[in-house]
């Protein structure tokens, strides 16, 4: 659920305590602590937890320019190395020598929506030249659609011409660096690193991958998707269009030949959520790959945002918050310390419960429970329907309680009738959410079917059936 939905649950929890409502009426605002307690799990995770989290692999497809805080970073040729393969940079230099200029036919693989591969043959124009920036020189190559754009931008490329080139770093068979003109990084680097992390997790237990997003000038982002495909044992990364922070695509689709990166994974892994991971605005995700058992077999399982929904999202934490608030309130001589502590604990518990309605689930009773208890899958955390239904329910409960605890009652009707008048929008919303959740559950069941066949898949592989 979104932050305010949790927060308003804390506000509502307060109103169930007549003593706290009376305080609020007198202008004593201390009970607002309960709302902060209800929001606390997300606050601590997103303001602290994520920055403390371990990162075994850091994937930055397009490092930021340190001054401008967006990509591509303007680099010196001497600073580039094999480690930068597939990363997106800008180089400013002078054309030293034109090596080749011509045309040819290239072939590359594209994937349809089902992940099937098709080989495409295409005519292309190309130019290869060396660029020098005073710190070194590098071979630059522009071909295909990128060549057309490159020629449009710079006109005739001649020796001695000064230019600012965008593109990604690649490595020639002889080990030397090459700079490929493009408007995006190549997705192969991302796919390779994730595949490596999964394999290492299988050997060593757990690996956490941080994937950075691609921010471009003008506060826009290059969208890309990470598809984990357990039955095919593949990690596929698809480079997408440029989008605004609001998610509107504004063009800039990469050409097909550098749109996909595919990496083979040599160990079994499973995916817990039926959709690919989309990376665009705000920040990139962290994914933990953990070795685990599935149907008696050792596999690697993914966990999105491993620092989220941990101890902070447990019922145990609610008890700790309650104790802390009680002591704090007592220390400052607040007369309704017990009620405030209970409201704060209930607020935090409501947060945990509301998140449990979604997918991620939480580790509910640490240290008794060790791992996350799966969510009820009623709707995604960003679902407008479940967020509104919950928030409205809390508003309704607040009005209801304010009315109950005021004499004479501002709304002079019976409690049950008033509650019914107030909560019907939430009831309808939850009803629709439950009906919609069946579709999603079906998708997950389908995904689980994949995993059930995983064993057969591997046996076939062993005897050379695939």
């Amino acid at each position: 659920m979104r932050g305010f939905t949790h927060y308003i649950s804390g506000l509502a929890a307060v109103t169930f305590f007549p003593s706290l409502v009376a305080d609020l009426r007198m202008g004593i605002l201390v009970p607002v602590i309960a709302a902060a307690a209800a929001y606390f799990p997300d606050f601590v995770d997103f303001k602290f937890g994520k920055f403390f989290a371990r990162r075994d692999y850091e994937i930055d497809p397009a490092p930021w320019d340190e001054k401008k805080h967006y990509a591509p970073k303007l680099v010196k040729i001497k600073d580039l190395s094999e480690k930068n393969r597939y990363q997106f940079f800008a180089i400013e230099g002078v054309v030293e020598e034109i090596l080749t200029k011509g045309s040819g036919t290239m072939s590359y693989e594209v994937f349809d929506e089902k992940g099937n591969v098709e080989t495409v043959m295409e005519e292309y124009n190309t130019i290869v030249f060396t660029l020098s920036d005073g710190t070194g020189k590098i071979t630059v190559e522009a071909f295909g659609d990128d060549y057309e754009i490159f020629e449009e931008e710079f006109g005739q490329i001649e020796e001695g011409k000064k230019m600012l080139v965008f593109g990604y770093v690649d490595i020639d068979p002889d080990g030397s660096l090459r700079f490929i003109v493009s408007d995006a990084p190549h997705p192969q680097g991302i796919a390779d690193t994730i595949a490596d992390a999964i394999e290492k997790a299988y050997e060593e237990g757990e690996k956490i991958v941080k994937i950075h997003n691609i921010r471009l000038p003008g506060d826009v982002y290059r969208r890309f998707w990470v598809h984990l495909d357990p039955p095919r044992r593949e990690v596929r990364v698809e480079m997408g269009p440029i989008v605004t922070p609001g998610g509107v695509a504004i063009g800039g689709e990469p050409p097909e030949y550098r749109k996909f990166g595919i990496a083979r994974v040599n160990v079994p892994f499973i995916k817990t959520y039926p959709k690919p991971t989309r990376i665009d605005s705000f920040s990139g995700p962290e994914i933990a790959f953990r070795r685990t058992k599935h149907q008696g077999k050792t596999v690697v399982k993914d966990r999105f945002l491993p620092w989220h929904h941990g101890f902070s999202h447990s019922m145990t934490m609610g008890v700790i918050i309650g104790i802390f608030v009680f002591l704090f309130a007592k220390l400052f001589g607040y007369s309704h310390a017990t009620d405030l502590a209970l409201a704060s604990m209930i607020g935090q518990w409501l947060h945990v419960f509301e998140d449990q309605l979604g997918f991620m689930g939480s580790n509910l009773f640490p240290p008794i429970t060790k791992d996350v208890i799966p969510g009820f899958k009623l709707g995604e955390s960003g679902s407008g329907l479940t967020n509104f239904s919950t928030a409205w329910l809390m508003i309704a409960l607040m009005i209801w309680n304010f009315n109950r605890f005021t004499d004479p009652r501002p709304i002079p009707i019976g409690d049950a009738k008033l509650l019914l008048y107030l909560i019907w929008p939430s009831m309808i919303g939850f009803g629709i959410a439950i009906a919609k959740s069946f579709k999603l559950r079906k998708e997950i069941a389908k995904l689980m079917d994949y995993y059930t066949n995983l064993e057969a898949f591997e046996e076939l592989e062993e005897v050379g059936g695939i």
Partner: protein, 442 residues
């Protein structure tokens, strides 16, 4: 005092729409400031009958809610720097789709008008009074809660790329701390402006005007000048990319946020939008712009309309306070007349905004925003001087600096509302004296 004949009300409402339309597209101008200036310089009662003033104001405020889309789309900062994050409307402008952004906004504004009119006729008179009565003793609770949520929910825009934990924390928290700093700095300025005689007592109704011009108007204009935005060709085609679902969802969210802001004091449209955006989990640039249209109509026009509701009689917003100091409508016939004026004014404002947007889109690079901004900056200084004297100009400069700080810290501009929220909270909780003492003022 006798109610004016309907023909007179129509004439004065039309005058209000015309007045509002003519000034609301200019960046940095706010209808409340201009109405205040009008009252201060020309007075009401001589040129215009006092009973006509609320209807003149409705016309002008409706026009502002519509026509101000022009300034926020075409004349706001749209630089390439990463120091300042862009609003969706600014991104549309950079893509040559400024007119589309205006159309999206207008869709929202029309939806907002229909929701408002429907609510005024069928919901507000019955539902608002009991709900307001049940919740009004707890307004300080809601206000404090929203302010606390603003701080707690600030999304760190940086921090991910720090090399060490310490560096990541610092990058994330410098923005959050910057926001808190801006809020308290604004709050202290607001407290001084409200509780001392730094500004002349003759400007009782306009003493906050220079501060708000500085926070939101002047700082915006200065950023326009500093950023020197590119004047990119705009497509004047009548085409929008959105969906019925997004429009309905955005209208719902915008109406929710706008209503919260309209009904409860101090809570502004931006704060209401923050709350409603979370409640309805709103996403997408098109949805954002549409919801802004709905929100601003509900917030500005809805808040002002509450002045007309006889069984509630709520004075919300600077416009309502200014008008109610001269004349408060009392009868249901005036309430119904206000509904009619809102519809009429909305129709005129819609056509005016649409036409103006077409003209500007076609000739966008004729006059550079930077030149317009110099002119507006001079006018804003003049307004501040006319309303509050030289000390008002000093307040304007200080608040402009605070407004620029919010932009520099890459934090929410709405933290500048601390200038209003903090002194009101201090006053509501009875700590004005202690705070005066703390600042060495009493």
């Amino acid at each position: 005092m006798a109610v004016l004949p309907i023909s007179d009300l129509l004439i004065w409402s039309f005058a209000g729409v015309l007045f509002g339309s003519l000034i609301s597209w200019i960046p940095g101008f706010h209808i409340y400031n201009i109405i205040a200036l009008l009252v201060a310089v020309f007075g009401v009662g001589e040129l215009m009958p006092v009973q006509a003033f609320p209807f003149f104001a409705v016309g002008a405020i409706v026009a502002y809610a519509y026509v101000s889309a022009i300034s926020s789309v075409y004349f706001s900062v749209a630089d390439e720097s990463a120091v300042f994050l862009l609003f969706p409307t600014q991104r549309y402008l950079l893509l040559g789709r400024g007119h589309e952004a205006v159309l999206l906004y207008l869709i929202g504004a029309v939806a907002g008008t229909l929701i408002l009119v429907f609510s005024m006729l069928f919901i507000f008179p019955k539902v608002l009074p009991p709900i307001y009565q049940a919740t009004s003793p707890y307004i300080t609770y809601f206000l404090t809660a929203i302010v606390l949520f603003m701080f707690m929910s600030e999304w760190p825009k940086e921090g991910d790329r720090g090399k060490t934990v310490r560096e990541r924390l610092w990058l994330a928290w410098r923005q959050i701390l910057g926001g808190i700093f801006v809020f308290f700095l604004s709050g202290i300025l607001g407290f001084i402006v409200m509780n001392t005689n730094i500004l002349p007592t003759t400007s009782a109704y306009t003493r906050l005007t220079p501060m708000f011009i500085g926070f939101f108007g002047m700082s915006w204009v200065i950023l326009n000048i500093l950023s020197n935005p590119p004047m990119l060709p705009q497509k004047p085609e009548d085409k929008v990319e959105s969906s019925i679902y997004n429009t309905l969802k955005a209208s719902f969210g915008g109406a929710l946020g706008g209503t919260i802001a309209a009904v409860y004091p101090i809570i502004t449209g931006g704060m209401g939008a923050l709350v409603a955006g979370h409640m309805t989990s709103q996403r997408g640039d098109d949805a954002f712009i549409i919801s802004q249209g709905v929100n601003r109509v509900l917030y500005y026009v809805g808040a002002f309309s509450l002045l007309f509701l006889p069984n509630l009689r709520l004075t919300r917003g600077a416009g309502a306070w200014l008008v109610s100091s001269l004349y408060t409508p009392k009868s249901y016939s005036e309430y119904i007349a206000a509904v009619g004026v809102i519809l009429l004014a909305s129709g005129i404002s819609f056509l005016f905004t649409y036409g103006l947007s077409k003209i500007i889109a076609r000739s966008f690079n004729v006059m550079h925003t930077k030149k317009v901004s110099y002119f507006v900056a001079a006018v804003l200084v003049a307004i501040s001087y006319l309303l509050t004297g030289w000390m008002g100009v000093v307040v304007l400069f200080v608040s402009t600096a605070i407004g620029l700080m919010a932009a520099a810290f890459n934090t929410r501009r709405s933290y500048c509302l601390g200038g209003l929220i903090l002194p009101v909270l201090i006053s509501m909780t009875g700590h004005t004296g202690a705070f005066m003492h703390l600042l060495g003022l009493g």
